[in-house]
């Protein structure tokens, strides 16, 4: 890994630094004060929102996770790690999630990469934007409705009924791990394609020509240049999909039909039905910690292997 990327990167923060640097031009103190006041006013609503609805709630569940369940449900103050020690009680949910999330993300990746490659490097120019829009639209379309579509297709009156016509009876498709995996690929494919597309689209095509001119086979050009330089996009897509899958609830509920429980199902149960909030909080904190580890590992991998920073999604 000798070539650490010294490419000039597009830096989003430049605008900020520039205006900050122009502050000394205002020599009068009153003007400077007014400027700071304006900045504070602009940032105040967002800060309030982030603190009240992101930071404080997170602190709240962290506190709850070391508490005890009140006899009538809810929370009772305590300082104990009993909730964390109790995590194996939901081992099935953890196991299902920890297997199907990476497998699902990998399946998404395998389907997404060729599509992103085609869109970025092979598609005719006038088709590219249309095809890209056709990827973005499902991304912003209700996951509930899209998962429902598969329930409809895989359910008893869908494909199984059609197959019964040709003599294949009693085939059960819905409420299986396979159906959940299918739903995962269907639901998260657009989210995987977009970051890979972005990283491939930024690829300097002269590198591909240089590689071919120097006698590399198409395969080694792909492995050594294309794949390697698109790794930041791959890792961004993989970690985003993986993290969202760790918290997935709809897909296992609708397509797994109570047979494939995810951590999301355990959380819904603990918060809305059995009202064991401290235990639920411990699970949620564990979930967040696993997500952070996934993000850090993904970031490391893409920095280590490609020498570039990760790509942003938008």
């Amino acid at each position: 890994m000798s070539e650490t990327g010294h490419k000039p990167e597009p830096d989003n923060a430049t605008g900020g630094r520039k205006s900050a640097g122009s502050q000394p031009a205002f020599s009068m103190r009153g003007s400077l004060l007014r400027k700071n006041l304006m900045t504070a006013l602009l940032l105040a609503p967002a800060t309030l929102w982030l603190v009240v609805f992101l930071v404080l709630p997170f602190i709240a569940i962290a506190i709850f996770s070391v508490g005890e369940r009140a006899p009538e449900g809810g929370y009772q103050a305590a300082l104990t790690f009993a909730q964390y020690a109790n995590l194996p009680a939901r081992a099935t949910a953890f196991w299902n999630t920890m297997v199907l999330a990476p497998v699902g993300a990998l399946a998404c990746l395998l389907v997404a990469y060729p599509v992103a490659y085609y869109l970025a490097l092979r598609a005719p120019q006038r088709w590219r934007l249309i095809l890209l829009a056709m990827i973005v639209i499902p991304f912003w379309t209700s996951l509930l409705m899209r998962t429902y579509a598969w329930m409809y297709i895989l359910g008893g009156r869908g494909i199984p009924a059609l197959l019964a016509y040709v003599g294949i009876e009693d085939l059960r498709l819905i409420n299986t791990p396979g159906a959940v995996l299918l739903g995962i690929v269907y639901g998260y494919l657009p989210l995987m394609i977009l970051p890979i597309y972005v990283s491939l689209e930024r690829l300097d095509r002269r590198l591909l020509e240089a590689s071919a001119d120097l006698g590399a086979t198409p395969l080694s050009t792909f492995l050594g240049v294309t794949l390697r330089l698109s790794l930041p996009g791959v890792m961004t897509g993989f970690s985003l999909v993986m993290i969202l899958l760790l918290g997935e609830y709809l897909i296992p509920t609708l397509l797994g039909g109570g047979k494939v429980f995810f951590i999301g199902n355990a959380l819904v149960d603990l918060f809305l039905q059995s009202r064991n909030w401290p235990f639920g909080s411990a699970i949620a904190i564990t979930l967040v910690l696993v997500s952070v580890v996934v993000l850090i590992v993904a970031n490391r991998v893409s920095t280590r292997l490609s020498g570039a920073r990760r790509v942003d999604l938008i």
């Binding site: 430049t14 599509v115 209700s142």
Partner: protein
């Protein structure tokens, strides 16, 4: 490779197309299309619970998207004026608001709000002059606030990206010509970022209108359209749901296309 890409696009769109097709089915079953009919749309729109849920969703999505567009744009403008360290802190928090799974956002907001109400409500009861003090509870407000978190982060990112590519020369020229900061903002900055603000609003609306999991936790006694649809799906699949799904899908497609069109306008790069 082209065949594979065609297959993937078919995979993405065929299920949606089937739902739309069968929403016009005269018959009841997914296995056979017995004729064209709009009866399921009529059934869906004459269901009072469904119409109520739809109204709630429209109200919540509009309010949270408006709030997000306003606060997010203000934040993006404010972030241009702060140092690198403050900026990094905000970027991390905004990134967290977008990346943290909806389940976690939902339960943590639920826990925090319930605790907060437990503290505030006795106070209100104490201080209120009459016998019937207002009781804060989960409902519209909590859904709007929780949706607003994601949406605001989204708007901040979209508008921030546009601000970063803003033509600085125009701003400098404007102040060189003795325009006040407010005039410069109104006539130079605002027109350039407006498409991003509108796109952010539309995407925020789409997100809130489609979200199920966050609302599921913080809705209290309220019902949004996705919550209603989820509940009825669990009772059994009916063609009525196909009609609702088609309406929601069409709404999303229109909103996203509008947002993309707005984002594509006046883009400096090709």
């Amino acid at each position: 490779m082209r065949a594979f890409v065609v297959a993937v696009f078919t995979f993405l769109y065929l299920p949606i197309a089937l739902v739309v097709l069968f929403s016009f089915n005269a018959g009841h079953h997914a296995s056979e299309f017995t004729g064209f009919s709009v009866q399921w749309y009529g059934k869906a729109l004459s269901n009072p619970f469904l119409v109520e849920a739809l109204k709630n969703s429209l109200f919540i999505a509009t309010t949270s998207a408006l709030l997000a567009a306003f606060c997010g744009t203000a934040a993006a403008l404010g972030l241009q004026r702060v140092g690198a360290r403050t900026r990094a802190l905000f970027d991390a928090l905004l990134g967290a608001a977008i990346v943290v799974p909806g389940v976690v956002i939902g339960i943590s907001t639920l826990v925090a709000l319930v605790q907060l109400f437990a503290v505030v409500n006795p106070f209100l009861a104490e201080l209120w002059p009459t016998d019937q003090p207002p009781r804060l509870s989960l409902g519209y407000g909590s859904i709007i606030a929780a949706h607003g978190l994601f949406s605001m982060a989204l708007v901040t990112m979209i508008v921030g990206t546009r601000l970063a590519s803003l033509d600085r020369n125009l701003v400098e020229a404007s102040s060189d010509l003795y325009a006040t900061p407010l005039t410069t903002f109104r006539s130079i900055v605002l027109p350039q970022i407006m498409p991003a603000v509108i796109a952010g609003f539309l995407l925020a609306f789409t997100f809130s209108f489609d979200d199920f999991i966050i609302a599921f936790f913080v809705a209290g006694a309220q019902t949004t359209l996705p919550i209603y649809v989820f509940a009825s799906i669990r009772r059994g699949v009916t063609p009525e749901i196909n009609a609702i799904a088609t309406i929601v899908l069409c709404a999303s497609v229109v909103l996203v296309l509008l947002a993309q069109w707005q984002l594509g306008r006046r883009k400096p790069s090709p």
